[in-house]
Amino acid sequence: MKIHDSLIGALLFALGLWVLTTALNYPQLQGQSIGPGTFPGVLGALFMAGGVALAAAGLRAQGMRIIHFDPGWRHPARLAAALIATVGVVIFSLGFETIGFPVGGFVLLTALFFFSGYRGLTWVLIAATFVLAVHLLMTRLLYVPLPAGLLKGIL
C-alpha cells in the first residue's frame, strides 16, 4: 500500500505538532530550564520540519494517486489472510487469557491456512499439532505461563 508523500508529510506535520504541544505541557526539572519534555519537544519540531519537506517533495513529484493499493490486496482471500494476521491477532490478544493460546492459536492458524489455499484435514491437523506442541514446550519446558483458557483443566 503506497501513500503519496504529500499526505505522509501532512500526517507527520500533525504528529509533530501534537508531540510538541504535549511536550511543552510537561513540567521542567526543578531549577532547570530543561525537563521530560525537552527531548520529545525537539523530536516534535523535527517531525514538523520533516513533514513540510516531505510534503513539498511529494507535491513536486506528481503522477501518483494519494493512496495506491497493490493488485494483491484486491484478492478477497489474500486480504482476509492479511486481516487475520493483523486485526485478528489483536482481537485474539484482547481475549487471550479467556480463550487461551491452544484454542485461539488453532482457530487463527487454521483460518490462515484456509485463506492461503491450504485446505483439508492435513492442514487442520498441522495447525492443531503445532499449537499443542508449542503450548506444551512453553508451559512445561520453559515455564512460560501461556494461558490454557478454554482448555484449562485439560492441558
Binding site: 490478544s93 485463506f115 492461503s116 515455564y143
Partner: protein, 503 residues
C-alpha cells in the same frame, strides 16, 4: 586480558550443553537464512524469548551462531532463486545467480561459505583483541562523550543507508519517539502512555523487534504470494570445493582487504553487514582488473562481499560490548539480552565479567569456524528446504511470533505492540522508509536522551560543555563531518548539473 581469562572461559564454552546450543542454533539459523525473506535479524528476534531460559554464555552463543549461519545461508536462495535471504546478500545476488546459470552453483556457494568463514574468523580475532583495549580507553568517557558517540551511531545509520536521507531521518525520529513512551527516567513522569499502565515501562523492545521484522514480511507473503519463484537444482554439494583453493589463493589480497573493511564498518556504530558487503563490493570492483565481470558472475566480487559481511557481523560487537551502542539491528537485540542477563554492556563489564566476555569471544570464533561443515550440510539440504512453500510456513511463523511477544512479560500487550509496530513497519517499507534506523532509535533513544539531559544539567544548560573535553570535541567533529560531507557533495552535484543544463 584474553589470556588471563582463557582457561575459565574455555570451561564455560567446552561443554555438552554448549555443543547442543551451538548445533541447534546453527541449524535454526541455516533454516531461516535459507528461506527467502526470513532475515537473520528476524531469526535472532524470534530466538530472544528462548534465551531468557539460558545462562548468559549459551544465550549469546545461540544468537551469534544463528546470525552467522543465517547470513551465510541467505546466499543459498540468492544463488538458487535470485532472492537474497538477507540485505547483506543483495550486493552480490547477480553474481551468485549468474554463476548458477553458468552451471557453477557449487563453486559459487563454495566461495561464499569459505569467504564468510575467513571473514568471520578475522572479525572475531579483531573483536577479541581490540575490544578490551578500547574498553580501557572508554573508562574515561562521561555523558558528553556517550552523547556524541550515540549521535555518531544514529548519524551513520541515517547517512550510510541506501534510502533517502530525509526518510531515514524521519524513520530514526519515529524510533526515538517510541523510546520516549513510558516513565521518564529523570523525573518519573509518564509520557505518551495514553493512561495505559502497560506502557509505563515503555514499549517492550522484543515484541517491537519481532513485529517490525516479521509482520511486514508475513503481510507481503499473504498478499503477494504469486511473486515467489521456484528454486534451481543444486546437484552434488560435495563437489563445491573443487578448484576453490586456487580461487581463494588468487584473491588472497581481496580476502584480507575485505575482511578489514568489513570489520571497520562493523565497528562503526549504526553500520552493519549489509553496508559492509556493498562497500567492499564497490571497492573490489574499483581495484579489479576485470570490473566488467561484476554483476555477471564475478568470483572476485563474491570473495570480497562474502568476507566483508561476516567480518562486519563480528566487528559490530565492538561498540556493542564496549559502549553498549549497537553496530546493527542484531547487536541491538544482543544488547537487550545482555541487560536481561545482568551483563550491562560497557567498559566495566570487561572488568567485572571477564570470564564470560572471553567465553563470548570464543563462541564467535567457534560459530564462524562451524560455518564450513554446517554450511556444507545446509547447501545439501537447501533444495529440500526451498521446496517448502513460504506461504505454508507463514501461519506457523506468526504462531511463534505471538508466543515470543507474549513470553517477554507474560502479557498480551506485547502481542498488541507487535502487531501495531508491525503494521507501522509495513507501511514504512512500502513507502521507502527504512526500518533499521527506527530499530536503532528505539534501542538508543534512552541512551541519547539520558546523556543529553545529564550533560545539560552538568553544564547548566550551556552547549559549550559538549565541546570542551578533547574526545567529546573529536566525536562532535566526526558527527559534523558525517552530515556536512554528503551535503557538500550534493551541492556540488547540483551546481554541476545546473552548469551542464545551462551549457
Amino acid at each position: 586480558m584474553i589470556f588471563q581469562h582463557l582457561a575459565a572461559a574455555s570451561d564455560l564454552v567446552l561443554t555438552w550443553n554448549m555443543a547442543l546450543v551451538l548445533l541447534s542454533s546453527a541449524l535454526f539459523g541455516l533454516f531461516v537464512g535459507a528461506v527467502p525473506g526470513l532475515s537473520a535479524t528476524m531469526a535472532t528476534a524470534m530466538l530472544v524469548p528462548l534465551t531468557f531460559f539460558m545462562d548468559p554464555v549459551p544465550a549469546i552463543a545461540s544468537i551469534v551462531t544463528t546470525a552467522a549461519m543465517a547470513i551465510f545461508a541467505s546466499d543459498i536462495p540468492a544463488a538458487l532463486i535470485r532472492i537474497p535471504g538477507t540485505a547483506a546478500s543483495a550486493a552480490y545476488v547477480d553474481d551468485l545467480s549468474a554463476l548458477t546459470r553458468a552451471g557453477k552453483v557449487g563453486r559459487a556457494l563454495g566461495i561464499s561459505v569459505t569467504s564468510s568463514a575467513i571473514g568471520g574468523v578475522f572479525g572475531s580475532l579483531i573483536l577479541m583483541f581490540a575490544a578490551p583495549q578500547l574498553a580501557l580507553v572508554s573508562l574515561n568517557f562521561t555523558s558528553f562523550e556517550y552523547f556524541w558517540l550515540a549521535l555518531l551511531g544514529l548519524s551513520a545509520a541515517v547517512m550510510l543507508g541506501s534510502a533517502s536521507i530525509l526518510k531515514s531521518l524521519i524513520a530514526l525520529g519515529i524510533g526515538l519517539l517510541i523510546a520516549c513512551v513510558g516513565m521518564d527516567t529523570t523525573s518519573g513522569l509518564p509520557r505518551f502512555t495514553f493512561g495505559l499502565t502497560s506502557l509505563l515501562d515503555g514499549v517492550a523492545f522484543v515484541p517491537a523487534l519481532i513485529g517490525m521484522f516479521a509482520i511486514p514480511e508475513l503481510i507481503r507473503t499473504f498478499v503477494h504470494r504469486d511473486t515467489i519463484p521456484k528454486a534451481a537444482v543444486i546437484g552434488n554439494p560435495f563437489k563445491m570445493f573443487e578448484g576453490l583453493g586456487g580461487v581463494l589463493w588468487r584473491h588472497k589480497t581481496n580476502l584480507a582487504r575485505s575482511s578489514t573493511i568489513g570489520t571497520i564498518i562493523g565497528i562503526l556504530p549504526g553500520a552493519g553487514s549489509d553496508i559492509a558487503a556493498w562497500i567492499s563490493y564497490a571497492v573490489s570492483k574499483n581495484f579489479s582488473k576485470t570490473p566488467a565481470t561484476y554483476g555477471r558472475g564475478s568470483e572476485e566480487g563474491l570473495v570480497d562481499a562474502c568476507a566483508a559481511n561476516n567480518s562486519a557481523l563480528s566487528g559490530a560487537y565492538v561498540p556493542a560490548m564496549v559502549f553498549g551502542i549497537p553496530g546493527d539491528s542484531i547487536t541491538a537485540i544482543v544488547i537487550g539480552v545482555l541487560y536481561v542477563k545482568g551483563l550491562n554492556p560497557g567498559p566495566m563489564v570487561f572488568l567485572t565479567s571477564g570470564d564470560t566476555i572471553v567465553a563470548i569471544f570464543l563462541v564467535f570464533l567457534l560459530a564462524n569456524i562451524l560455518i564450513v561443515p554446517l554450511g556444507l550440510l545446509a547447501i545439501g539440504l537447501a533444495s529440500q528446504v526451498l521446496r517448502v512453500p513460504k506461504l505454508a510456513l507463514a501461519p506457523l511463523i506468526l504462531g511463534f511470533c505471538i508466543v515470543g511477544s507474549y513470553s517477554i512479560n507474560a502479557s498480551a500487550s506485547g502481542v498488541i505492540i507487535m502487531v501495531v509496530l508491525g503494521l507501522l513497519a509495513y507501511l514504512m517499507e512500502e513507502n521507502g522508509f527504512p526500518v533499521a534506523p527506527t530499530i536503532l532509535g528505539i534501542v538508543m533513544g534512552l541512551l541519547v536522551e539520558r546523556n543529553l539531559i545529564t550533560s545539560l544539567i552538568k553544564s547548566d544548560g550551556s552547549m559549550v560543555g559538549f565541546f570542551e573535553r578533547p574526545i567529546a570535541a573529536g566525536l562532535a567533529l566526526l558527527v559534523a563531518v558525517i552530515w556536512i560531507v554528503p551535503a557538500l557533495l550534493w551541492i556540488g552535484r547540483r551546481l554541476k548539473s545546473s552548469r551542464e543544463t545551462q551549457g
